[in-house]
Symmetry: C2
């Protein structure tokens, strides 16, 4: 558990960017934890310490939430059968079967709906797109706090977007009430050192592609993507990964059309069936 | 800047919950930073150290991003005129005018669209709801990392959902290209000690309302909300705040209908005009 920094800022930025941006020269254990994030897809059999989920959720609830409405929930899954069924729904990602704790983060308007129904008070806004986005944002802010909290304890995590592949099946498995939606999952566990070769910090786009000063610069990505492709080519070689091509080719292949969306092209229909009107 | 913990876990949980949940008994500077979060709405005139935005964005880019697509951007606004105009668009929240750095977090499909157009490759999935949600989630995970990073440096932040009140005006002000959307803003600055009375940790719902074990428990909120209302009543009294009523009444008033949505009831129309087909 980190209470002191063990690396220097240059080393951390170099892992994240290849060639690092110029940033304020300061470091502390929290920044070090954040900069060292890597998605972990190999977990040991070691169970988590009791009440780990409660600690992570206390961190999650400490995140900002719009108007204090707290439009999110989390389902903590430890049962092996349920993890196995959710893994099958989310594209057979075997780290879901293997992790001791699988957290499913819920955009949750059901709580306010229930309170409105119980107290006979209007809650018409819940039928608007705005509130689905609010719940999704609230869930993501909460989840990221839990992720950082877990990593500060040397646990590994990986987000699972694949939980959106089959929203109706997931809702049924978790007993979700109408107006709640599983936005993404998160595996939590002790990192398997045997899988560490793949548990490395992944480089990101140069800052100039992402950070816009005062106004958005629509051509900022051009030369930045060339530089990033070079960084990623080196990364793929080091990791013995064989991508389809440079990052932009691989990414465009990922978004080429509904046939590559693993069911998520049907999300609007599923959300309507889950009770979101999205006006 | 925290490199050691200064409080104990019980004190931190008590501030967050009134009566704290039973959690794994562990603390480190990162957890302490997370647990102590409070929204800050009073900033001093002191400018930020050079390259603070770059440090926060390095933290933001260290967050997970779906399939490494990096479907987000951030616009860093320091110009006083632009901050003033954005403040007017976001419901005249005066801390937007006052903060030295206003970050606007963008769900950004425009970068992939531009790459697809430039390289003449299909990018049909960008027209689906799934990708709007992905960009929104990616932006939120990134922003929360920046928030924690800022707070680890003793800076204050507050999220601004009001940036969604007038999405078209905000897009014009920031020069956003089609298929990008300002999801929320974030004020960053040095905390004004004169405003600290209002900069306190806000209690959240008891964990049993939010954390569901194995499956969602639709009645978990009932008794939890009663307990929370009691906690919040004490909090409001301490803060000399005069809410409309208990938390559930105030929250339901907030979601009573489109007349209380400050323009966000028109979000679908605005998103379509911004180039999101949301199929």
């Amino acid at each position: 558990m980190s209470t002191q920094t063990t690396k220097d800022l240059d080393t951390l930025l170099k892992a994240r960017y290849g060639q690092g941006p110029q940033v304020l020269d300061v470091l502390n254990p929290t920044l070090e934890t954040i900069f060292q994030h890597k998605s972990v897809r190999g977990f040991t059999n070691e169970p988590l310490a009791p009440n780990t989920a409660e600690l992570l959720v206390a961190a999650a609830q400490s995140a900002s939430t719009s108007s204090n409405l707290q439009t999110w929930s989390v389902v903590a899954v430890e049962d092996q059968g349920r993890k196995d069924r959710l893994a099958a729904m989310a594209g057979n990602q075997k780290w879901i079967n293997a992790c001791p704790l699988f957290l499913v983060w819920i955009a949750d308007l059901a709580r306010l709906k229930a309170l409105g129904d119980e107290h006979k008070l209007e809650h018409e806004s819940l039928n608007y797109m705005e509130m689905l986005l609010m719940g999704t944002i609230d869930a993501a802010l909460a989840a990221q706090n839990a992720a950082i909290a877990a990593e500060s304890l040397d646990l590994g995590i990986v987000y699972i977007g694949g939980i959106r592949n089959k929203p109706l099946d997931v809702a049924k498995e978790l007993g979700l009430p109408p107006m709640s939606f599983a936005t993404f999952g998160m595996c939590v566990g002790h990192i398997d050192p045997a899988a560490t070769a793949k548990n490395v910090v992944k480089p990101r786009l140069p800052q100039r592609a992402v950070l816009h000063k005062e106004t958005y610069h629509p051509t900022a990505h051009k030369e930045a993507v060339d530089a990033y492709n070079a960084t990623m080519e080196k990364f793929y070689a080091e990791q013995s990964m064989k991508p389809l091509g440079p990052w932009h080719i691989q990414s465009l292949h990922r978004v080429r059309g509904p046939e590559a969306m693993a069911g998520r092209d049907l999300l609007v229909d599923a959300l309507k069936k889950l009770g979101f009107d999205m006006r």
